[in-house]
């Protein structure tokens, strides 16, 4: 369990002054993850909103060593940094007492899609690194194109709500489960709304010996279309309606880390976001019902994996 007072007393690891939109959740992810780290860290980041807004030369928000190289290779790049660390340390070219941790960040496009192979490879090789996906459910940096993390029905610029096709046609990829299936020591799903849960997960992830993965829900006020002051609230409601459950998989054991007191309606959550507004026009009721049914089914499956029952 993290302690807010202690976190607040730490030096700021991710400085303000970056170029992210007002209400952007991505810097919240970076800041919380870095605050959670107890050792010195070296970070990498895939091309995307977080990288372009935080490292505009000659400025940087990163008070840790940081590397960006391309879009699809944050995992491979950090795996190389970690390999260098292991090699130099083993050869006595680095102080043996200093333990450094390695964290790669990537958006959902850079993680679920184009960077998927690189991520899978790095996890399989067993590098001592944490990969954090800040999942805003579309390619936001290039103006809101659909990714395989975009939820069904959402309007994006490449899955537009048109006269014939009402937004994205497919359900999202369950990446957290896929990463858990890599049998890595730690995989988890978190949200910017539950800071203590997130910070605790990062600390657990960094404590394991081997690769770890955390998928963090990061509402995008621009792409999801809601007022900027509601970012954290939108994230919280995603958790409460079980669209984005909070759980962890530790050495293959699934565990729910938060169970909503009352499971809310996913449709009510969708209503607050412009990206779904076309679904509330008459004629789309069946799609809404299908989305709710899918969330219900996935939640039941997750409860079973976690050894929980639906009732409180």
């Amino acid at each position: 369990m993290a302690n807010l007072k202690q976190l607040a007393a730490k030096p700021e690891p991710f400085s303000s002054g970056h170029r992210a939109c007002a209400g952007c959740g991505a810097p919240i992810v970076a800041r919380m993850v870095l605050l959670a780290a107890e050792n010195p860290v070296v970070c990498g980041c895939a091309t995307g909103c977080l990288e372009v807004t935080s490292s505009l030369f000659p400025y940087t928000s990163w008070r840790t060593p940081f590397i960006h190289s391309a879009f699809e290779n944050a995992a491979a790049t950090i795996s190389g940094v970690e390999a260098a660390y292991r090699s130099l340390k083993r050869q006595g070219k680095l102080p043996v007492d200093k333990e450094i941790k390695f964290i790669a960040f990537g958006g959902d496009g850079g993680t679920y899609d184009i960077g998927f192979q690189s991520l899978s490879g790095a996890m399989e090789r067993g590098h001592n690194m944490l990969y954090v996906c800040y999942d805003n459910e579309a390619y936001m940096n290039t103006n809101i194109q659909r990714s395989s993390a975009t939820p069904k029905g959402a309007h994006t610029t490449t899955s537009p709500a048109g006269r014939v096709i009402p937004g994205k046609q497919q359900f999202r990829k369950d990446l957290t489960a896929i990463m858990a299936a890599h049998n890595i020591p730690y995989a988890a799903q978190a949200s910017i709304s539950h800071w203590n849960d997130l910070v605790t997960k990062v600390q657990k992830a960094l404590a394991v010996n081997g690769p770890s993965f955390i998928n963090v829900l990061q509402p995008c006020r621009l792409g999801w279309d809601f007022p900027p002051e509601e970012t954290v609230e939108i994230a919280r409601e995603a958790v409460d309606c079980c669209f984005w459950p909070l759980y962890e998989v530790v050495d293959g054991e699934w565990r729910l880390t938060y169970k909503p007191r009352e499971k809310k309606s996913v449709i009510d959550w969708m209503k607050k976001q412009g990206r779904f507004k076309h679904l509330f026009r008459p004629g789309n009721e069946a799609i809404l019902a299908e989305i709710q049914a899918n969330v219900d089914r996935e939640w039941e499956k997750l409860l079973k994996k976690c050894g929980e029952t639906a009732e409180k």
């Binding site: 190389g80 390999a83 192979q117």
Partner: protein, 395 residues
């Protein structure tokens, strides 16, 4: 100059031996024919504890070059090897490795590009990435491949260069051909290359830096200009290191390697293993009293334009041998650059291009004799009919 006995090595084995002696901190590599073998041999060195290297068995060449860049930025001495599809799959990362000023060393085995798929030698792969900001050194044989790889470490890591470097051999012809090679001792290699000390490594957590930030209109151009300057600096560094290598070990290296050019009228320009065949052809023609010569180009990047112009200063006709077709519709890449190097100089002989050997098509002394016979006609004043000839192809 305690040189050990000559022994028989294939090009890949010689490259692997050089890698073992260089003993890089990190190697990240992915298998592809004909480069695989040196990576396999290197894996054995790792498995047997003969090197201190952390070997990263990546899932693609793109990740190989990504991991190499990360490791290099972290402060490690880094190597990899590849060919063909692997090299062009890396293409995005080759540019980035140079842009991030990572002095990575790549043992490249020249192989044709798909489609159609083919595993044999031509230079299409290396030529396809010629403008990535890498130093490119071609080798004529296994000995040169070995020597070049060792020198490449010094060139790339030179503080005024800090650019990645690839050393190429010709697929199968060199990579799998067995030759007598003189290896240096492990100690000699170690003392020649020295220790690598990165100036601003990521692993210096007490002095955090941001690598690979976003540059817009206000800085990008300056940073690219610095890379151009590094390439310019490499012009000075490459021959310096080639000379130092020669003084210490007896084999001297420069940008180019002229053969019987002092009085040559008919000159062939070639890269890689074909230089050996061309030298034999020149020798044959010389016995017949024909003033033939060869200009072998060792370093393709930076391109030694001034050295080439100087070396071709007395030629009456020049044939450029391109083992790749840029598909530009006006000749191969070597032709374009050699011809341009002569422009504005004192001597501007007719220069023609021969595209040959694609996909490993064999080239022999008779083929090259034919080229010299063409040159003799041009030197005698016959106008250039055909600028670009496909040599040894059924048409």
């Amino acid at each position: 100059m305690a040189i050990v006995e000559k022994a028989a090595y294939t090009g890949n084995e010689a490259m692997a031996e050089a890698m073992r002696q260089i003993n890089p901190d990190v190697v990240a590599a992915y298998p592809i024919t004909p480069a695989t073998e040196s990576v396999q041999l290197f894996s054995n060195f790792v498995a047997d504890g003969q090197v201190n290297t952390e070997f990263v068995t990546v899932e693609s060449e793109h990740s190989a070059m990504s991991a190499c860049s990360g490791a290099s930025a972290a402060g490690a001495r880094v190597m990899t090897g590849t060919s063909s599809q692997g090299l062009i799959l890396m293409a995005e990362m080759l540019y980035i490795a140079a842009g991030l000023r990572c002095p990575i060393i790549l043992a490249e085995v020249n192989r044709a590009l798909s489609a159609p798929i083919n595993i044999h030698c031509d230079h299409s792969d290396t030529m396809a990435v010629r403008d990535a900001g890498w130093i490119q050194i071609f080798s004529e044989n296994a000995q040169e491949a070995y020597d070049n790889l060792i020198q490449a470490v010094r060139i790339a890591e030179h503080p005024e260069v800090l650019l990645p470097a690839m050393v190429t051999t010709d697929g199968f012809i060199i990579s799998h051909g067995m030759e007598a090679v003189e290896l240096l001792t492990d100690e000699e290699v170690k003392s020649f290359i020295g220790q690598y000390r990165a100036t601003r490594p990521l692993l210096d957590v007490d002095h955090p830096i941001t690598v690979g930030g976003l540059d817009f209109t206000d800085f990008y151009f300056e940073h690219r200009r610095q890379i151009a300057q590094a390439v310019e600096n490499a012009r000075r560094v490459i021959p310096e290191i080639g000379q130092e290598f020669g003084r210490r070990f007896g084999r001297f290296y420069g940008f180019i390697d002229p053969y019987k050019l002092d009085d040559a009228e008919l000159v062939m320009v070639a890269l890689g293993s074909t230089a050996g065949t061309a030298r034999a052809t020149v020798d044959g023609l010389r016995t017949e009293g024909i003033k033939a010569g060869l200009l072998k180009i060792r370093v393709f990047r930076p391109f030694p334009a001034a050295e080439i112009a100087e070396a071709l200063g007395r030629a009456k006709a020049v044939a450029v041998m391109d083992r790749s077709d840029g598909l530009a519709g006006c000749g191969g890449p070597l032709f374009a650059e050699v011809r341009s190097a002569l422009y504005g100089g004192k001597n501007t002989p007719p220069v023609v291009d021969y595209i040959y050997g694609l996909g490993g098509r064999d080239i022999n002394v008779n083929d090259l004799r034919r080229v010299f016979i063409d040159l003799a006609r041009l030197a005698a004043g016959e106008p250039v009919g055909q600028l670009v000839t496909y040599l040894g192809v059924r048409e």
